[in-house]
């Protein structure tokens, strides 16, 4: 999957492949730093479907019941 992102997704504006970089995610007053694919130049962050529906969904639900 990771390889795929690097190979097939590019930033439309900068026309370059994505690379892993530091991103802060926030929800309901909580913040946590994570590594996600983004454009090394303009910083546009990419969230693949698997991540949104998997890990992120889990984290959201856990925080909502806190």
């Amino acid at each position: 999957m990771d390889k795929q992102v690097q190979n097939i997704i590019i930033c439309n504006t900068c026309d370059i492949p994505l690379a892993l970089g530091k991103v802060t995610l926030a929800y309901l007053g909580n913040e946590f730093p994570v590594e996600l694919y983004k454009c090394p130049q303009c910083g546009l962050v990419y969230i693949p479907e698997e991540l949104a529906k998997g890990k992120m969904d889990q984290v959201e639900k856990a925080l909502e019941d806190k």
Binding site: L18, V23, T24, L25, A26, E60
Partner: protein, 778 residues
């Protein structure tokens, strides 16, 4: 919820009350549990339940006087359960009886037990187990008292010997041939024993002693004065019970054993300086408040054993055990899939809700349960204590919202959909064209307008024709989603807007198209003259059915849960159907006992799984097509494959095929239908210049993608927002593999992602998804 309210509500649920038999049993044997074990032929488990409460199970299984039978529910149908016979079966069919005695550290207090009958021995065993030093004084040469007089065939001596083996496992000192009283000839005086021992239990049975000889205060009847609850006498450290107390005419082996236990408890409390009387209502026999529904139980005589001397064979025992109703309530759980889903019953749920609302830190385990209830009120209707779980859940939701503890995802979508309906996009309020005032205003509601905009239009035109002094129109939402979601402020705001508009129209009579709007209006504005379209039609007559009326249908009515207490409204539905010539059958649970379609309380958004279970269960209650009079009921049943009509489908028949089987519109289409309804009416009826259709982006969406969007509750308007933003700013990714774009946008709290390709005539949508975690940048 306050502690006091919690207690009150817990008390409304009687499910945890013991069955009548157990409450009437002086030592509270779990008869239901024992009988259930016999049903499964697990005699060992059955006998253990007896042993738990009675130290001498082999004896009591032969001679119990069964006060439990007087309170057996089965008596109301035919005959009580043969409890003692079944106890005997348990004893006889278990080869071993295990009693684990955990020895307690010895206490330095000494207790005298006078009389080694069942009562004295029970007290001795109980106190011995607690670590007290127990000394027994028995006048005869054997322990056991009057049970020694029972013939062998009734009470085999082996049973006595086996039961009394326990006396050797507990350190007891047994003195035989010792006669105790306070008569001057007595060798051992009670006074002396009372002075040398810390406490005394007097249980000499019905021996012919003059009560005066004990030197204790007497009651008016001339017997020893004994406190009925604590068994205390006039001397603080002397307690008395058993047949000595009951008298020769009221002897009861099981009550004697119960007295032994009560006396042991009193002595323990006395020696620990604890209150003798505090919370002892549940000791000894009492009356249970448990409710058990016996409707439909077939009468069946008690099983008689083929050989009365031997008692039941195992077949007979199982057969008799199966007569037991295993009494419990669960009336509400039986009718509500939601209550059944969480595997318990309201008494437990109430406490879980309470705990959930009280915790500050940690996981709120009951959130899911609180938010899933459809608030339909059926539980209150069937509950003997009228407990309404819906009210409890709704109140808990309000608290969660106030504390900011409501998980945003639960109601977010429904609330945004409501906001669409209260916004300019749909909300609308006018007098009838050509009228300066309205005698009446029609409020069709947001869901009917979304599901059947054409019916709304027809109905409005019909009302204008029939009611000649001005029929205004108000489009909007009654605000119930906010109410169900526990959003008090939002609900108040919405109500306020409705009220303002209604007043501006001159406070006319209101006719609602949706049963839920009707219930909300009635509740919120008691002085408002509000009527449901159905009772109105029943009075003013139906629209002309034209040349070709619908062929008569065979239907069952599904009443909307929000009309539970609206008998007149429900009646008018039946009358209209009759007038239209359709054949009507009733579901078993209809009218005030109707079930929810799964939409109420926003259940469908909070817990799709349970909502679908509800729809399925309801659908299966009849083979016939459903007739509903709420747009959401209709669409919900149809969504799960149940053929369903809305009453307006029959009043305004169209040439359309398969009206009953047609799935309702999806979320996006619902909003579009509302907006279009407003525009159409504005243009066609009022001749106003309607707002332009705003959207200039065309989406191309396949069936598959459409389904994904519905499931994830992503609207076309969300997708358009993402694409517009991406195309405008250029902020998007390119998938080199298929040349599509991927972009995201966060209009409010949710971030939407769309994968799409521009086409000549619009944008082809490949996929969409969303998340709530916010990307804060690097």
């Amino acid at each position: 919820m306050e502690q006091k309210v919690l207690k009150e509500r817990e008390q409304q649920c009687v499910q945890e009350q013991p069955p009548g038999c157990t409450a009437a049993c002086p030592v509270h044997v779990d008869v239901r549990g024992m009988v259930a074990a016999i049903q499964k032929e697990d005699y060992k488990a059955g006998v253990q339940l007896l042993y738990k409460m009675v130290p001498f199970p082999r004896i009591i299984s032969r001679i119990c006087d069964q006060p439990c039978q007087q309170a057996c529910k089965r008596q109301e149908i035919d005959e009580s359960i043969a409890v003692n016979e079944l106890e005997k079966s348990c004893v006889d069919n278990s080869n071993e009886l295990i009693l684990n005695i955990t020895p307690m550290p010895p206490k330095d207090k000494t207790i005298a037990i006078i009389g080694a009958g069942l009562s004295g021995l029970t007290a001795a065993v109980e106190l011995g187990k607690k670590g007290y030093h127990v000394v027994i004084f028995e006048a005869k040469k054997l322990v056991g008292g009057s049970i020694r007089n029972i013939p062998e065939h009734q009470l085999p001596r082996q049973n006595i010997a086996d039961d009394f083996a326990i006396l050797k496992r507990i350190p007891l000192e047994i003195n035989l041939h010792v006669i105790v009283n306070n008569h001057k000839d007595a060798r051992t005086s009670l006074d002396h024993i009372s002075a040398t021992f810390d406490a005394v239990y007097l249980a000499t049975g019905c021996i012919e002693t003059n009560p005066h000889d004990w030197g204790l205060a007497l009651d008016v009847g001339g017997g020893i004065a004994i406190h009925p609850v604590t068994l205390a006498t006039s001397v603080p450290n002397i307690f008395a019970g058993g047949s000595l107390y009951l008298g020769p005419d009221h002897k009861s082996p099981i009550t004697s054993i119960s007295h032994g236990k009560i006396a042991a408890n009193s002595i323990d409390r006395f020696l620990q300086n604890a209150s003798l009387t505090a919370s002892r209502e549940k000791e000894g026999a009492f009356t249970s408040l448990l409710y058990t529904n016996i409707a439909g139980v077939e009468p069946q005589r008690r099983v008689r054993s083929a050989d009365p001397n031997k008692g039941y064979t195992t077949e007979e025992a199982v057969k008799e055990a199966k007569r037991c109703l295993l009494c419990e309530c669960l009336e509400c759980v039986k009718v509500c899939e939601y209550l059944a889903h969480f595997h318990a019953y309201p008494k437990r749920y109430v406490r879980e809700v309470y705990n959930n609302s009280s915790i500050v830190m940690g996981v709120h385990h009951a959130n899911k349960m609180i938010n899933a209830c459809n608030l339909c009120g059926l539980c209150e209707q069937v509950c003997p204590g009228n407990l309404n779980m819906g009210e409890i859940c709704q109140e808990a939701r309000r608290i969660m919202v106030k504390k900011g503890k409501m998980p945003p995802r639960v109601h977010d979508f429904a609330l945004r959909d409501m906001q669409f309906s209260t916004s300019e996009k749909f909300a609308f309020s006018r007098h009838q064209p050509g009228f300066a005032s309205s005698s009446t205003v029609f409020f069709p509601g947001c869901q009917l307008s979304a599901s059947s905009p054409e019916h709304v239009k027809s109905m409005y035109q019909f009302l204008c024709k029939k009611i000649t002094d001005g029929v205004g129109l108000m489009l909007g939402c009654c605000g119930v989603p906010a109410d169900w979601a526990g959003q008090e402020n939002l609900f108040k705001e919405t109500s306020k807007a409705i009220e303002d508009n209604w007043r501006k129209l001159g406070s006319p009579r209101v006719i609602t198209g949706c049963p839920t709007c009707y219930s909300v209006f009635k509740r919120e504005w008691p002085s408002m003259d509000v009527e449901s379209i159905w009772t109105v039609l029943d009075k003013i007559g139906l629209p002309d059915q034209g040349e070709e009326p619908l062929a008569p249908l065979k239907l069952v009515v599904h009443d909307a849960c929000t009309t539970r207490h609206e008998a007149a409204l429900q009646q008018s539905i039946r009358k209209i159907l009759h007038t239209l010539g359709h054949q009507v059958e009733e579901l078993e649970n209809s009218n005030e006992f109707t079930e929810c379609c799964g939409y109420g309380g926003l259940m469908l958004f909070a817990n799709k799984e349970i909502a679908h279970k509800m729809i399925k269960k309801r659908s299966q209650q009849s083979e016939n097509d459903f007739l509903t009079y709420c747009a959401m009921c209709r669409d919900n049943f149809a969504s799960q494959g149940k053929q369903s009509y809305h009453l307006l489908d029959l009043i305004f028949p169209t040439r359309q095929q398969d009206v009953a089987g047609k799935k309702g519109p999806g979320y996006s289409e619902r909003q579009e239908n509302r907006a279009r309804l407003k525009r159409t009416l504005q243009k066609e009826v009022w001749g106003e210049l309607a707002d332009k259709e705003q959207c200039n982006v065309t989406l191309i969406i396949s069936e598959n993608v459409r389904q994904t969007l519905e499931e994830l509750m992503i609207l076309d308007s969300d997708i358009i927002a993402v694409i517009s933003q991406a195309e405008h700013t250029g902020n998007k990714f390119k998938n080199m593999e298929n040349n599509s774009y991927i972009a995201s946008f966060k209009p409010a709290s949710v971030t939407y992602w769309v994968e799409y390709s521009p086409q000549e005539d619009g944008f082809l949508v490949h996929n969409a998804y969303s998340h709530r975690l916010e990307i804060k940048g690097s």
